[in-house]
Symmetry: D2
Subunit: 317 residues, 4 copies
């Protein structure tokens, strides 16, 4: 990787890793195509104890967002409360009710990037033109509703933070390379392959939980190296998720760049990327029992035309 020539590096990786056309010109699922019914059967076999873990952060006014590109924290307001109910709301026979509403960017907290989220030189997934895919009315082709009934299968955790970090946490700017991913899998005694839903823990959220949000949303962070593009492509995983804001290492590894691995992974590989997942409790359990595979569902909200989606992923062991 030539740090001084990101354009060429991105173009080369895009060419090497493209899944464009692989599942036909009409495909809207990208790497979710790898997630077969057999994967789900295999995933369900991972349920031994019946223990469940939510991998979601809270959707909270006091979350990590600080307004970059108008990404704010959710604002949750009440339409009716228990105080109104106690005072009387006009319902018969003592019925009272509370109701609520939320305003939130779809990427404000634990979320999926949809295939319409990132473009490379105006190209969206499957060689579509960005401007034909995502207009002001939303993603006309690969909106989140198209992924509503897919993301349930075998989850695998690679706890790179625990294996290579200092007290479980990788430092900001730490690039997780293919070699480290593979050594982590070996240390865990787990394999990563076709159709898997891969979770990579860096420990960044653990630190934010201890130190406060700081620049968790958008600042320096450990994360995947740009050089993992081939591995992400070749393993044929169905999706990947991390405990960081942006999945890839920040600052990025080129002298001047912004999220170059996204630029390959989404429009070319067609990879579903999960961000800001909370992997800590699951990771502690995996470390304790030595089993790093589990059943995972992470169903996006089918907001019509959405390019991202809040999600509460559930892992079951």
């Amino acid at each position: 990787m030539d740090r001084a020539d990101p354009e060429s590096a991105i173009a080369a990786a895009a060419a090497r890793c493209s899944n464009a056309g692989r599942w036909g010109a009409d495909d809207v699922l990208g790497t979710l195509n790898f997630l077969s019914e057999d994967n789900r059967v295999e995933g369900a076999r991972q349920v031994r104890r019946g223990t469940v873990f939510s991998l979601s952060q809270r959707f909270d006014t006091h979350g990590p967002q600080h307004g970059w590109r108008r990404r704010t924290n959710p604002v949750h307001t009440m339409l009716d409360t228990g105080l109104d109910a106690a005072r009387g709301q006009g319902f018969p026979h003592g019925l009272g009710g509370a109701d609520d509403v939320v305003f939130m960017p779809l990427q404000c907290s634990t979320q999926w990037d949809g295939l319409g989220h990132i473009f490379d030189h105006g190209t969206a997934y499957n060689r579509r033109r960005a401007e034909e895919v995502v207009t002001s009315e939303g993603d006309q082709v690969t909106g989140m509703e198209t992924a509503a009934a897919h993301i349930a299968g075998r989850g695998v955790l690679l706890d790179v933070g625990r294996v290579f970090g200092d007290e479980g946490e990788l430092p900001d700017g730490f690039a997780v390379t293919t070699e480290l991913l593979e050594r982590t899998a070996a240390a865990h005694g787990v394999t990563v392959g076709r159709g898997d839903l891969l979770c990579v823990r860096t420990g960044r959220l653990t630190r934010a939980r201890r130190e406060g949000w700081g620049s968790y949303a958008g600042g320096p962070a450990p994360g995947l190296s740009f050089t993992t593009a081939e591995w992400l492509h070749d393993t044929e995983i169905a999706a990947i998720a991390t405990d960081t804001w942006g999945f890839e290492v920040r600052p990025n590894e080129f002298d001047e760049a912004f999220q170059p691995l996204h630029q390959v992974a989404i429009p070319h590989i067609g990879l579903f990327i999960g961000e800001m997942w909370d992997l800590d409790e699951l990771a502690a359990d995996c470390a304790a029992d030595g089993r790093f595979a589990f059943w995972l569902t992470a169903a996006p909200l089918p907001v019509t035309g959405a390019v991202g989606s809040p999600v509460n992923p559930l892992a079951v062991k």
Copy 2:
């Protein structure tokens, strides 16, 4: 049931079915306490083929809401689009991105009622005072975040519409009684018991899909009879969901009433109620293979303090 004396009927059912105190004074989970790890293991055993079904309607501007108590359809807007990306957004090396935001009532489409959603004479679940539980800052006790890591287990479908309806659809005002629930279970060869996540299909959504929304949100509908309160309590199910707006039959069975079964089910039984679920595709599959039990996850979005939550439930067979 004396149709002319709803107050007494509600009070009697509340007394008969109360789970208040059952799991301690601090309990926030209600019937989710029935959902054990063993239930999950049993639920995972239902995965045979690996086929997945989303039980969610879309979250769409053209949804069923028409503003009752300020419940509107979601409004999804873009922060950046493919057109902006094609024009140039100032990112280096050809990166482009789309982002989005949503404004929505938390009960606008497929959802869970939280335990803070309904009160009986100012009493919330577990004998709490409504005004102590849900203020303008949200549900301080039983907010949806407390239910984040629970709702995964054995799902059971009772397709009452298919068994007793005309071409699969029950008419508006049709009260689904305990007897009909049990006869449906018998017809399906399935049992309903402790910890199950029960889905009841009436066919109301099937009709809305064919005829248009009309008064789907809030109008007449088939649904559970008030008299099922005891059965809902005694079966010790963990949750129930239907394909209707309001779970119980509308018009309600008393001369003057508004959602009296809610008034017993939520604050007294502590029951999690799912509404506006799309059970049609799953139901067709169950009818085809004769298997009405499956794995089900229905993870609410952990919006801090929320009294309801949008959800994309996934059933796997």
Copy 3:
């Protein structure tokens, strides 16, 4: 006007009435340039009694919108209420407070169209390219903030409904022509000229107030004839406002068309258009005292980059 050839009619009117370049290539004010300090002095002279009239409808959940192009009614929710204050909010010495938030389309009720609201064949006001002016980040050139300090001057009411309608109301589809505008002015004994803020009452809102909203937002209505384009240009008025949803007559006068007068008025004349103004109380007063000129302020909210703005216009006589 050839009803069968709207393209040519629009093009001809656009060429005839264009103010592009009139105030320089950088101009962002359009017809507000006509509103001089002398106009304001003359306007202030109209204040005789000191009586004030709000020309705004309420911004209300129960307003006229029904979701066309995602235009909903405003949703107003509370962050804190008097009930919370009565219960205690943690402030010292008995202080309590209520706070609120609104979600609303900027054209949901009484409003101004900004110059970035309408384009003709991709051209915005002052021969700019639409795609250079209004991106997903808003109007980069003619955003409402640029009009913040202008709209105060001499207002004139032409109550066409009162002069030519049946009991003060023109029927749907009634085209208000230049001749009718001039005859109304003559009947009122008022002149319309350079820099004036012109209000035209049709009586459509009066009817909605009596009959309910119906299709007030977007349906048939009386309004200005396409043929008034020249008069709107030649009078050199600073702005025009009506009591209808769309200012021009609906259905439009061509066999197939959508708001063709907008297409000339905004991008070519650079005219500020107010819609859904409530002129009834003012009109009654003008009819009573025979004075149809007054002081008018109608200050748009300077939402950065907005292409429209809610407004509460105040007329003072």
Copy 4:
């Protein structure tokens, strides 16, 4: 004023300054009752040159709010853009359009506090119970819509910053006393009296403009001393507005307190308070021509039930 006994000081001021009942039990206007038609005639006489000044800050994503009590900056998003129009939106004959939506706290930028905004020991304006006035459905009595047609009259600027500040700016914590207000009026050669709309400039916004927002919203600031309550009452002004977030001096003058002058001014005096007004350009003009009275309109948006309102005040000289 006993700094150690705020309870007594507040109670004494409240008793001394109460206007409760002054305009009848049904009154919803408070000090706006002082603003007579004669005041408006006198105000209009101040228009000499026809120069207009907007006293509004922008409503902008990059505004001063940082989430205190869920007060965020406005989020403005587009429903349609010029890019969509250039691509084609399905309208006939080349028409294109842009539309937009905003989500904002009603007190996010330049605004009016409504009479339902602050309570004293559960009492709202005119001896009403807070919980009877402002519920989750909004202010049922003194909602902003009731003030829609009033706030136009004679404005007066007291530029305390210019008279007593260092280079026009008072420091944080600087309490503007009655004596200083009167000496400023004397220095300006202007009187303040019944029905006036009073603007007090401290220079705090000038500093924020130079240094960045910092803690402009909610932090230390110059402002009115608690001891001005009597003057605010006795002058019989119709409203007051400042260039600060909170109108009164911060930190407040008691050892422990939060906005004690609000607690007297709103529920007892019934005073309309404007905050975050931009008085700089107007102030420069007043200093230049020596005239500190002007015509002022500051029409709140009539959002039904609102306890505050964004506003774009226009001063005309």
